[in-house]
């Protein structure tokens, strides 16, 4: 097997360049690559286009990169938990492209799977359809949607091995597996890096072929947005 281990997040993101397109895994603050976001923040890379289902909150996740104005454009499905985001959007400092969540997930998968375009019913008759080819199949109308690919995909997994095989936990899986397939360079940060052979081959969520760099992250905060409990 091929060893893909790098020392840590600084090395993993060292060549992310100004104006690069990044995919970042996660749904809300669940399953986000906390360590890599910190390193990009420190590195100060500018003009980023970030493809991520959400944009973090004011002081965590991608929200941190918005605050420092490192993000030029967000491509997301829902961005409603971030007041700095709102300010930058309304002032015209930030570009935003909103995509239905399922279409976003499928466009990223298509990018990784070498499918340049496919038909989806989401958004027919809405402003999402503007400028898109429409076609009817079996009496239902669909929109032609194109793949998404990125210069760097940054994902967070629960466990990973030195060959880049990944296993996610709970709903922290979300967009991470598809994004792992759609980056020219895919960087995986994991809570636990295990030796080769320790993961069951039958239970791997992301095969190592998609991952170029892997490291064990530190100090995961895993902030909860809506702490809801049963009495």
């Amino acid at each position: 097997m091929i060893n893909k281990v790098v020392v840590g997040p600084d090395e993993a993101v060292h060549d992310i360049f100004d104006n690069a397109t990044l995919m970042l895994g996660g749904f809300g603050l669940c399953g986000i690559p906390e360590n890599c976001i910190s390193s990009i923040l420190k590195k100060g890379t500018k003009g980023l286009t970030c493809i991520s289902n959400n944009a973090g909150v004011d002081d965590f996740g991608i929200g941190l990169l918005l605050k420092t104005k490192q993000v030029k454009k967000m491509i997301s499905s829902y961005v409603g938990e971030n007041s700095e985001f709102e300010r930058q959007l309304l002032s015209g400092e930030l570009e935003v492209e909103l995509i239905p969540q399922g279409t976003l997930a499928e466009r990223v998968r298509a990018g990784g799977a070498g499918i340049p375009a496919f038909f989806s019913p989401a958004g027919v008759g809405t402003e999402v359809a503007t400028g898109k080819e429409m076609r009817e199949f079996n009496g239902k109308t669909y929109l032609l949607e194109q793949w998404l690919r990125a210069d760097f995909s940054i994902v967070k997994a629960w466990k990973g091995d030195t060959a880049g095989n990944l296993v996610y936990k709970g709903t922290a899986r979300n967009f991470n597996p598809m994004m792992a397939t759609a980056g020219k360079i895919t960087i995986a940060e994991v809570e636990e890096l295990v030796p080769l052979g320790e993961l069951d081959p039958n239970q791997i969520h992301t095969p190592g072929i998609y991952v170029q760099r892997i490291f064990q992250g530190k100090n995961y905060e895993k902030r909860i947005e809506q702490r809801t409990i049963s009495k």
Binding site: F27, N53, L98, P100, P121, E127, T171, M178, Q226, R227
Partner: protein, 218 residues
């Protein structure tokens, strides 16, 4: 007139045994609390779970287990976790039997608007456009009128559309109504204490009233 709990309770009566159901954020999430325990249903969370359980106790909170509203949750025995592409494959492929979601406006031909208010903040459509474009059966939980008293059951939506010709049934604070295939709202039930006239006055879209309209049993 129903409060949010009342709407959730009435919608819970629409649930059938063996259904896979996607519950939207807000009132739809409350529906889970009122599904009769003898019915075997599975709740889908579009961020990657089939088999949503109750909210956790303090000691069981897991930041890696949330629903689409970002609330901490638990799993039922027999649950399955999956990625977002698989989740929307289920939705788009017609495997989810029932979608319950909120709306700001519904038109008499079944269009729904629930994702954007121009000039105010744009939060994004999340999974709503996928859900309404694909669901076999869609029930909308909503207020019949705005705080200012303007009808939200319209001839034509004024807000940006989430999906066209998709809503099948509406449960509002005032009534249960079906969207007719040929267009128009068919009044099925009145909320407790609400008259047909009150519903007429609160409905801008074409309202079909056929015979005696019973009061809801909630």
């Amino acid at each position: 007139m129903l409060d949010k709990t009342g709407i959730a309770k009435r919608i819970a009566q629409e649930v059938g045994d063996g259904m896979y159901i996607n519950l939207g954020i807000g009132i739809p999430t409350l529906v889970a609390n009122y599904i009769p325990s003898h019915l075997h249903v599975v709740l889908q969370s579009e961020n990657g779970l089939l088999g949503i359980g109750p909210f956790p106790t303090e000691s069981k909170i897991d930041p890696d287990l949330i629903n689409a509203g970002k609330q901490t949750i638990t799993m039922m025995p027999g649950s399955a976790l999956f990625n977002s592409a698989e989740s929307f494959a289920m939705i788009r492929g017609g495997h989810v039997d029932l979608t319950i979601l909120g709306a700001m406006e519904v038109s008499e031909n079944g269009d729904i608007a629930n994702w954007k208010v121009p000039g105010k903040m744009v939060k994004g459509m999340g999974g709503a456009m996928d859900l309404v474009a694909s669901a076999k059966h869609i029930i909308v939980a909503m207020q019949h009128c705005s705080k200012e008293g303007a009808s939200k059951l319209l001839k034509k939506c004024t807000l940006p559309i989430t999906g066209i010709k998709c809503v099948k049934r509406i449960v509002s604070d005032l009534a249960v109504l079906d969207v007719l295939p040929q267009g128009g709202f068919k009044l099925l039930e009145r909320a407790p204490g609400i008259s047909v006239d009150q519903i007429k006055n609160a409905t801008e879209g074409r309202l079909e009233i056929d015979g005696n309209i019973p009061e809801m049993q909630v």
